[in-house]
């Protein structure tokens, strides 16, 4: 469902077939698992069975003696890593920690931490050989929650770590005066005067919340095939959101200049933020160097859950102050997010986003990044925001109940508008927050009557700032009037289509005339990850600029053909070049004459656009809770979102639906289950329960289009914010259905049943 909006565009806003669609549905598209090279070896990884252990000794002699095994490596085979910060775009990571996470040095810091890797001529031999590597461990006590980790006298996972005061979200400052065990950093975000705000309040409410560890759940496991040739050049075929980020990380881990590394991104079967860090790719490279042969590594499903980065388990405390009419006067939060074994949780984003849909003059968030003996977290769709918003939006719901104000009305009364200051002090410009709330209030879902027993309706808002960063693109005009569009952004969510549509719009040609291709790191300028909801926005800017350059050049060519001054020639938005005396060329006509007028024409652009438009979303959900089994059935779901301009509405809706379903999973069933020794018990998709198609209803979408003035077509990032509201929306619905406030998610039947049954 699309709210009526003026659509002055020819291509933007239509729903063409995606260029990569046929090959993907027929199985012809090439993924990393399809790579086969002559002489290729198969690599496997040996992982720690302990959550925390000293690695006393690794003996690979028996494994190396097995026929077919060609090499075994440990971290000692990597160049020594110094401490340095490497920017991954969405989270930051020290190089030493990055290398240690790839392959443990002297200690294994989580169950599943890689301790050795090997390569063999056959994948089954490689698997057999794993059992022959002897590792002697000395078990150490694990730290398994933020509460345990931060307690006075807690064992320190990194003995020399001292809490750092962050100056801003990505700027580490000095050592903190208040060192807390295992707290890698503390960030305080603050505006106004909190004490004053609470003094003005007539109602104060304070609540605590927790969320479990959730994995992105991409269906394609991590994979990488490396060939380190005899002249010292490394080529890696892999599945990633960011080939250039991969190249940079490989360069740092392997101490190679980037010019020696070529990263070839294959098609990607999902990422959601999780396919940005390196895992086995550097191991495959070192194994290739050691054996002189290409080495292919593919994670097993359990390895994906053991060994890659999920998002943080969290603890959040919220305190709100309000007037009796619902006006918020103060908002305070304490957030402690599990980072896993190395620093870098998205806690700052949690503090940054949770209050952002609202105008609250006095705000403070204290954000702690906490080390525990679990896999190092990585980005996951609006990293950090869902947990913070779960806390805020649940507390708001309770406040609405206390004040007897409709929950959406309470949100509308406090809505952030243009000029409202965020917790980091920045003022919003051109936001669609109120429009989203209004669309929710007018939606068929909100205005329908919820009938039946044990049913409840919940509502929640979400905010995400969206990203910009670097993008490159170039476009070549072919003689037949088509355009080759060359991209450095890998295609996860329909970017080939969305980018081809934008340059088609710029050039005034048909979508079908554009042929997009995603190329490797030797073939285009640096392009940041497909992530941060940035690609349709930032790479969209690049293709638009490339299109403008083509327009200018074609005007010059037409002027030359007509022998008139270039200022008299104009490339119009309908793709027709017009000159004096009614002379004109269509795009196809002039394309056919390029070889006679100076050769081919290319447009190129390298951009790093500012002007990202923040995204707001409001989700409404109806649930029914079985009072006997505590199972929650999602009956109806509507996601309302300001998308700026929906370039390809199908893919925008798809992003919203996918994000909502992932959020429903976090709300109801998805969670890492650890035993008291820190061993992960559910490293399979049987017991790590993502919703299936039978577990969710159709996710209805309402696209609000408040164009972003910072983009030629008004694009706002759309991919991340839809995962933010579902947690609280579902929890609020469960409350209405049962009277129970679920302050720990997921609200699995096991947990919720305890609330519904009488106390024992």
């Amino acid at each position: 469902m699309v709210a009526p909006a003026k659509k002055p565009y020819r291509v933007v806003g239509s729903r063409p077939v995606r260029p990569d669609g046929t090959d993907k549905v027929t199985g012809r598209a090439n993924y990393g698992a399809d790579i086969r090279l002559p002489g290729m070896l198969y690599g496997r990884v040996l992982r720690s069975p302990h959550a925390h252990a000293r690695i006393v000794r690794i003996d690979a002699a028996k494994a190396l003696a097995l026929p077919g095994v060609k090499a075994v490596i440990t971290q000692a085979d990597f160049p020594a890593a110094e401490d340095a910060i490497t920017d991954l775009g969405e989270t930051a990571s020290n190089l030493k920690w990055l290398v240690d996470n790839v392959l443990a040095s002297d200690r294994a810091l989580y169950h599943g931490h890689a301790v050795a890797a090997l390569a063999a001529t056959d994948p089954h031999v490689a698997e057999d050989a794993l059992a022959l590597i002897e590792v002697e461990y000395e078990e150490l006590p694990p730290v398994l929650s933020v509460h345990e980790a931060m307690a006075e006298g807690a064992p320190r996972v990194h003995p020399n770590m001292h809490t750092v005061e962050m100056l801003a979200r990505f700027s580490p400052g000095p050592r903190s005066e208040h060192d807390i065990p295992n707290a890698a950093s503390h960030l305080r975000l603050e505006i106004g005067d909190l004490d004053q705000g609470f003094a003005e309040a007539e109602v104060v409410i304070e609540r605590e919340y927790e969320t479990g560890t959730a994995h992105q759940g991409y269906i394609e496991p991590h994979n990488g095939t490396a060939l380190w040739n005899e002249s010292g050049e490394l080529t890696v075929w892999l599945s990633t959101q960011g080939p250039f980020m991969m190249r940079d990380q490989l360069a740092r881990v392997l101490k190679l200049p980037v010019s020696k590394i070529r990263v070839i991104p294959m098609e990607i079967g999902g990422g959601f933020g999780g396919k940005i860090p390196v895992y086995m790719e550097p191991m495959a490279a070192v194994l290739s160097k050691k054996t002189g042969r290409p080495v292919k590594m593919i994670m097993q499903r359990d390895e994906v859950l053991f060994g890659t980065g999920p998002t943080s388990a969290t603890y959040v405390r919220v305190k709100l102050g309000a007037k009796r009419d619902g006006t918020l006067t103060a908002a305070e939060a304490y957030l402690a997010y599990e980072a896993g074994a190395y620093p870098g949780s998205p806690v700052g984003a949690g503090g940054m986003c949770m209050f952002s849909p609202y105008s609250v003059p006095n705000q403070r968030a204290d954000c702690y990044d906490v080390i525990v003996n679990k896999p190092k977290v990585s980005a996951y769709r609006a990293p950090g925001a869902p947990a913070g918003s779960f806390a805020m939006e649940s507390t708001l719901d309770e406040l609405a109940e206390q004040l007897d104000i409709d929950p959406l009305e309470l949100r509308q009364r406090n809505a952030a508008v243009d000029g409202t200051r965020r917790i980091d002090g920045a003022a919003f410009q051109s936001i669609g927050n109120e429009a989203v709330m209004r669309a929710a209030a007018e939606s068929p879902h909100w205005n329908s009557e919820l009938q039946g027993e044990n049913r409840g309706r919940g509502i929640a808002m979400g905010y995400w700032g969206n990203g910009g960063l670097e993008s490159s693109a170039y476009a070549t005009v072919n003689r037949d009037g088509t355009v080759g569009l060359v991209l450095g952004s890998v295609d996860i969510g329909g970017q080939r289509a969305a980018l081809a549509m934008q340059i088609a719009e710029t050039l005034g040609i048909d979508y079908e005339q554009v042929k997009p291709i995603v190329v490797d790191t030797d073939s285009i300028g640096f392009t940041a990850v497909t992530g941060g909801s940035r690609t349709t926005f930032a790479t969209g800017w690049a293709v638009h600029e490339a299109g403008l350059e083509i327009r200018r050049e074609l005007e010059a060519r037409a002027a030359r053909i007509w022998e008139v001054d270039a200022s008299l020639v104009h490339y119009d938005d309908d793709g027709v070049i017009r000159g004096p005396e009614d002379r004109s060329f269509t795009f196809r006509e002039i394309a056919g004459q390029l070889h006679r007028t100076g050769g081919t024409v290319q447009g190129k652009a390298d951009v790093m656009p500012e002007g990202t438009g923040p995204a707001f979303a409001c989700h409404i959900v109806d649930v029914e809770v079985d009072p006997d089994t505590a199972k929650v059935e999602v009956l109806r779901y509507t996601a309302i979102q300001d998308v700026g301009t929906a370039i390809h509405p199908d893919y925008v809706e798809g992003q919203i639906q996918g994000g909502a379903v992932q959020g429903i999973g976090m709300a109801l069933t998805e969670e890492y289950v650890y035993d008291d020794q820190g061993r992960l018990r559910n490293a399979s998709l049987l017991d790590y329960r993502m919703p299936t198609t039978l577990d969710v209803p159709q996710i209805d979408t309402i696209l609000v289009e408040e164009p972003n003035p910072g983009h030629p077509y008004g694009v706002r990032g759309v991919g991340e914010v839809p995962i933010v509201p579902p947690l609280a929306a579902v929890a609020n619905a469960i409350h209405q259905a049962t009277g129970v406030r679920t302050r720990r998610l997921p609200a699995s039947p096991r947990v919720l049943l305890e609330e519904l049954l009488p106390e024992e």
Binding site: E127, T629, L686, L757
Partner: protein, 295 residues
């Protein structure tokens, strides 16, 4: 995947010989939905698969009128729920056959394999027990029959001796005025393992319950026949009181564990809930009312 051999048997005798020669690491391969995963994940050492799908008796499906049902041990679920005679006379089996795995798994998975895998949470086992089924076992010493209720002896353990295998399952013909129902509880709506499952069967005579069987799975080391539930039901018309008593008996009888799939309290509670629900549906089926497997 571990290195192993594969042999396809074409007769009961050949399978028995292959299994005996293969020793303790030989495994029967029916649909393979458990054993292939076990071989791949190395949770069980397997050196030989003996495929029984080429043995006519092992892929049989016969529901002769009044003579009961003979179900080959390797007959896949989809064939069972695709059979009109089975769906009309043994709906409790269909309740299970149509929810084990997804559609693709149901094309391979069999009741015989489900029984021999001997998981406490097996969805095929409680309805077989509630319907009074027996396993026809063949081996070096010839054939024998064991009631399904006594087949499984513990998690992953059963009465099969080395070289023995289950050829078929034999289910008695349903008595007049009888009905049975199987239900399981899972946190999702598919692709999951039972937190608890329950099969109940009832037979009425003149409005009174004359036979009753309540079987609870995933709440003890093996599927559990709740004798006290049967006693609470037999000898009087089915009533809210007798259903509640049966449910209470089920809650008392179970010996659940606490694991990532369910807590002790949750499993105990669900044993009662599912006992009540299956009894109500079994009574409706006994009255000839239609109860769809998965509404």
């Amino acid at each position: 995947m571990q290195d192993l051999r594969y042999a396809r048997a074409s007769s009961v005798a050949e399978a028995a010989r292959l299994l005996a020669d293969g020793g303790p690491t030989a495994r029967v391969l029916a649909g393979g939905t458990d054993v292939i995963v076990q071989a791949r994940e190395r949770t069980r050492q397997i050196t030989l698969f003996v495929d029984i799908k080429g043995i006519p008796e092992a892929v049989d499906l016969r529901a002769a009128n009044g003579e009961g049902l003979t179900l080959g041990a390797a007959t896949p679920c989809h064939q069972i729920y695709g059979d009109a005679a089975v769906t009309s006379s043994y709906p409790a089996l269909i309740d299970a056959a149509s929810l084990i795995g997804g559609t693709a798994i149901q094309g391979r998975a069999s009741f015989g394999g489900n029984l021999c895998n001997s998981s406490p949470a097996a969805d095929g086992v409680p309805p077989l027990i509630a319907l009074g089924a027996s396993a026809l076992i063949a081996g070096p010493g010839g054939e024998r029959r064991v009631p399904v209720a006594r087949f499984t002896t513990g998690p992953g353990q059963n009465v099969l001796e080395e070289g023995e295998f289950v050829v078929a399952l034999e289910v008695p013909a349903p008595a007049p005025a009888s009905g049975a129902r199987f239900l399981r509880f899972i946190p999702r709506n598919e692709m999951d393992i039972a937190v608890v499952n329950v099969a109940s069967s009832l037979r009425f005579d003149g409005g009174e319950v004359v036979e009753a069987c309540v079987v609870v799975g995933a709440a003890a080391p093996t599927a559990l026949v709740v004798e006290a539930a049967g006693e609470a039901l037999v000898g009087s018309p089915l009533s809210e009181e007798s259903i509640a008593a049966a449910a209470a008996a089920a809650r008392d009888a179970v010996r659940p564990i606490d694991d990532m799939r369910g807590s002790i309290r949750q499993r105990r509670h669900l044993a009662g809930v599912l006992t009540e629900r299956t009894l109500r549906d079994a009574a409706r089926r006994a009255r000839g009312e239609e109860v769809v497997s998965h509404p």
